[in-house]
Subunit: 314 residues, 2 copies
């Protein structure tokens, strides 16, 4: 088996780093703290290498990103250069798809059971406050969902939603036909937004998605619907979202991502009681470092045997 | 078809009552507000009839309760008398099983994603507060669940948990063999409690379940596990539960039911930050009255055609 020189600038806990060092043999790990220059002599990069330096390396053939997001690499220029060089790019979306999907799902469940309000309320059974809390509870069964951005997170979310028998459709940049559910075209988006009870934004950030949810598009969403964002904060016009919540058109918003993070203290979204914000923890999982390293090692095994890489994005 | 006189003391909204009146023909509805005496001339009772008056009626053959709980009827004396009289008792558990299961599930998801704390935290990506929030996040996949009380709510919960591939076992008074998952015996309970990451109490209230979760039994639960109660508050020694939380043995408790409801303001459980209490809203659903009436009408149809009744408990 060929042995590779692996540039590595991941940031994980000591136990995960120890596991990587012990398991990577016979390949050579260029440890974190090595100079960026080592990119120029490495075959593989694991972490967050600088995109232009990666393209200038004469030897690099595969980058495995330690994140699910790959905004810095998602440009026409990078794609074209990578293609010329025979450079593959994979990401760690398999590590983050389940946690992100579960985070989104926890938002949907909390919303449907009125959990935030109920946890704050001490009331007597049978009284009007109690009756209102109960009346505002929903079951998800039979409701409709529109998912924007259909990658690994969305696929996992669809699995989690299966027992609820919801009406799910999705929108993505380039449908592949294997999504297994009705796909919405760009032309069909207004009608789909006007029909969904839950609008779920998992769009990545790129030139085509900045402010995707503009004031106009937010206005196409069905009155009373719930808006979720676990993609990137930049894909939403946040002042327009605040307006849609303040006017009562949207029932609620649940955001794990904002622009910037955190929002400044004076931002209107902080003041809206039905705007629920978590600080970009969707990908969080107890054994994150270990999972990242394991995922890379599995892909390294595939690479060494010239098999197709998992989570390839370029 | 035989026509029945139906005693009715349900409490639902006007739309649901209108639907009941319009759909119940050719049977005769003895409307809410009729004297309790009408029980003595009715064939069927829908609502919450007084148990001893129901037994004294010379004509009553079927009671359909408008609740899932049936504590007042769940006595040896009532069971024996009902059997002698050929009196059937059904409840509305099919109306409440999905909402209750979803409520429980919303607790599990909120706990596993640290939602209560995350929603209160404004923090910067990459900082120590952020890293701790992410580290405390879990995915449910692979964790273990013990369900105590295995009726309709538990069955629905098991369906909802299916995509997570958890290790689920259950305990119930009288296993029937059709539960479809490993059942724990009374002798096996200590070991099962010591193994489960999530201990879910859906026990009904009866002579055998009062203070079922005594200090001793709570002490058998695995350190770091999470305790949930959506059955009845009386099945738990609440001061012992407060002690188990304060000592750090249990990671958290999620309670939709307490004894009494609400707990008095000075109760120690209110002061424990990882004890999360909602005010008995588990059964809440937007169209509750309509669902209750529909469920009764479906059972009435069965009754009129001498078919087996749904949700029969006696």
């Amino acid at each position: 088996m060929k042995t590779f020189r692996i540039f590595c600038n991941i940031s994980v806990d000591a136990a995960a780093m120890k596991m990587l060092k012990e398991s990577v043999t016979p390949h050579v790990l260029l440890e974190p703290g090595s100079t960026e220059g080592s990119l120029s002599t490495s075959d593989v990069a694991f972490g967050q290498p600088n995109p232009s330096e990666a393209l200038q390396s004469g030897t690099l053939k595969w980058i495995h990103l330690s994140s699910a997001g790959y905004t810095r690499y998602d440009t026409d220029a990078f794609r074209q250069s990578a293609q010329k060089l025979g450079l593959q790019l994979t990401n760690s979306s398999s590590v983050y798809d389940s946690p992100c999907a579960e985070q989104l799902f926890s938002f949907m469940m909390a919303q449907s059971r009125g959990l935030v309000e109920a946890l704050k309320t001490r009331t007597t059974n049978g009284g009007p406050v109690w009756a209102k809390l109960r009346y505002n509870c929903r079951t998800l069964t039979g409701q409709s969902v529109l998912i924007l951005g259909f990658g690994a997170i969305a696929r996992r979310l669809v699995e989690l939603l299966a027992p609820f028998h919801m009406n799910i459709s999705a929108y993505r940049r380039t449908p592949t036909g294997d999504e297994g559910l009705p796909m919405v075209s760009t032309e069909g988006l207004p009608a789909a937004l006007a029909a969904a009870d839950h609008v779920i934004n998992i769009l990545p950030e790129n030139a085509g998605t900045i402010s995707f949810f503009s004031a106009e598009r937010l206005d196409e969403i069905k009155p009373g619907a719930v808006f979720y964002n676990i993609g990137r904060g930049t894909t939403v016009d946040q002042l327009a979202l605040a307006e849609a919540l303040n006017s009562g058109r949207l029932a609620a918003a649940w955001l794990d991502v904002t622009e910037p993070e955190p929002l400044p203290d004076e931002h209107p979204l902080w003041k809206i009681s039905n705007c629920h914000i978590t600080p970009h923890i969707g990908g969080g999982r107890h054994e994150e470092g270990e999972a990242l390293v394991n995922h890379f090692l599995q892909n390294l095994e595939r690479y060494a045997h010239e098999k197709n890489l998992q989570d390839r994005v370029i």
